[in-house]
Symmetry: C2
Subunit: 395 residues, 2 copies
């Protein structure tokens, strides 16, 4: 009996537990302090009315024999795949309904997709990065090569022809940096992947924050992507589904490697190791794309983006370099006075009672940077920004 010994090569991630410990210790020592948290990437607004109503309706259906739903298709119900197909069409991307696979979230699919690839593939991952990309590949024993995202390239690294890679992770708008690739930059990645016979795993979880039509929301807006890319998306941010769990993965029919359609492999993976998303949740997700749903979620997204603007404006006012905040809920800032990530974390917590996320927690290139999120309350966001300004004026 052997365990999967690759797991022993995983590094324990202490980022959010260390943050929690520090915050708890500070609060215990300073019970009167009113701490504002702009650290975690979780939403705070409730599900919109259209979604709530659709969920209630679906629950009622499940309680009546005539409308009860048992096992559904593992790849999702047609009504939801069709709604997503129309959503993509609305920003100019044509997909077949069967190219869309409904899942319980982008995190699951970003991990599980690796099942269909060989373990000898070389994986190219930006640094700083969402830790799941690295860990899921370490678990399978794949070789990981990092590409440097930094202030010089605006945290948007471009392909290096000298680097050979088989799987390439791109997240745009990016977590944690909020940086967004333009079409020309993504085209460079698509051309590189097609030339190298590589596959791009494109994380589009934050596409809903892109407001400038000049910026791509889907990699399938880029010519050539259908032969080299898989796209992962989620209802977590567009509709506050972090605790409701629904996402989807798009695999074009044309995408094949070694003569095998990846679409077919993923269908086989999902029908074997997955049993579909709850009918109730799929009905709630479909309501996101109704006229009422769209109106309501745009109000919620507008609320978060106004928070982002408040933070971004304050950064400009303070003369702090940053990325994000415009087409992203994240603001990735250079720590003032060349402080280290954790040094700034401690200062901000102790002197301004504001909690953010140290950039060093996302990779070596994150050192000296810091992430703030726009998912908080409006009043808290304003207050946090006011405290930061006061603190920096006193430095």
């Amino acid at each position: 009996m052997q365990i999967n010994s690759n797991y022993l090569n995983l590094q324990d991630s202490y980022l959010f537990s260390t943050i929690a410990k520090k915050v708890n210790a500070f609060q215990a020592a300073n019970p009167q302090a009113s701490i504002i948290r702009l650290g975690i990437g979780d939403v705070t607004l409730p599900l919109c009315d259209a979604v709530v109503q659709a969920l209630h309706d679906a629950v009622s259906e499940m309680g009546v024999k005539e409308t009860f739903k048992g096992y559904g298709p593992e790849q999702g119900y047609g009504f939801l795949k069709d709604a997503i197909q129309h959503y993509y069409a609305s920003h100019g991307v044509t997909l077949k309904s069967d190219e869309i696979f409904i899942s319980d979230g982008a995190k699951s699919d970003l991990g599980n997709i690796l099942d269909i690839f060989g373990t000898d593939n070389v994986v190219l991952i930006p640094d700083p990065v969402y830790p799941v990309y690295v860990d899921t590949n370490v678990m399978a024993g794949r070789k990981v090569v990092f590409m440097n995202a930094n202030a010089e390239n605006g945290f948007l690294p471009l392909p290096d022809e000298k680097v050979k890679a088989d799987l390439i992770y791109i997240c745009s708008p990016n977590n944690p940096t909020g940086a967004v690739y333009n079409r020309e930059q993504l085209k460079a990645w698509v051309d590189y992947a097609n030339a190298q016979d590589a596959v791009i795993l494109f994380d589009a979880a934050y596409e809903c924050f892109v407001k400038d039509p000049a910026l791509p929301r889907s990699i399938f807006e880029i010519e050539g992507a259908r032969t080299c890319a898989i796209e992962f998306c989620s209802f977590s941010k567009i509709a506050g589904f972090t605790g409701t769990r629904c996402g989807y993965t798009v695999i074009p029919m044309e995408l094949s490697r070694q003569g095998v359609a990846l679409h077919k492999l993923w269908l086989r993976r999902q029908t074997t190791k997955f049993n579909g998303v709850p009918y109730i949740v799929q009905r709630g997700a479909a309501a996101v794309f109704t006229p009422e749903g769209q109106k309501q979620i745009q109000e919620n997204l507008g609320y978060y983006m106004e928070n982002a603007k408040i933070i971004a404006d304050a950064m400009r006012e303070m003369g702090i370099w940053f990325t994000g905040g415009e087409h992203s809920p994240y603001i990735w800032l250079k720590c003032p006075n060349n402080m280290g990530s954790w040094e700034f974390f401690d200062l901000l917590l102790e002197k301004a009672n504001v909690v953010g996320t140290p950039g060093a927690g996302f990779g070596v290139n994150g050192e000296g940077f810091f992430r703030l999120t726009a998912f908080g309350d409006r009043e808290n966001t304003k207050e946090a920004v006011a405290r930061m300004k006061k603190l920096l004026a006193e430095l």
Copy 2:
């Protein structure tokens, strides 16, 4: 770029699609025929009132900022883990709450658990069998050894000391055969696994159908199991959650291999590649264990078991050898007149307009056997049995 070439070794499963094709063709040729389906293992009764009410309440919580839930713990909410802990305690099994991992279903976990094991392990699987056990191991390139379940051993194979195995699949009450191991038989498997340093993957999805307290519902009723077994269970059958999606996996703290706690590996797998079950669904699942929920689901289970009894009684009356039907929703019967599985399928469809599942679809030892399920309507079940009796009297 390499695909996972193990996928090319998978056999396409045509079982249920072949059944559907044959049934559709027959219906098209005989539009007046009233076909009764006792083939698929899906439930037909709606969710019980206690669950429906809990789902509605949770949906309402998600629509209000103060009670909205974002990301939850990947391994499940305490309220549901505690409810499951008490459920196990009610049949004499003591678990720690943290030994229970909530998932979107037993099928997902039975596949995903393999992530934590090395690919060189030898896997022991009964034949006939739920196809997912085999396919998920073929996908990882593991060697599969089959053990024969047949009429001679009552479709309950016991360990053979001469066979060396690292991972052992046991499903009791069994799908597809409905056979149930007793304590002594399961003890033999536990002793074998401990002696071999193997791990038993125990599929308890049908435990709720066991009514005789002399029969084990959990492998953890067996002394020694905490050092060699992982148990998978589901709300699909106990509470009709096939389309609502919730299950759980139990890994004892003591279970370790190569000096590593499997509990810790699974926690790492789930926190990296999974984001938890919808809050709404977990609230619905917890309602199963309330006094009202228990009363209502026992009524539903009683309805199915009465169907099973109707089928089993008819088999006895017709002198047909079978397993299951008593502590299981499945009746696994020997085809009359030594017919082959598909031969009997065709006869039953054409002459009695009743659809079942040919045993040959579950493995070579299934040839000559046939599965009927108790998940249909009462009236349909009675009518199907009457038609079978009439057909066999005419043979």
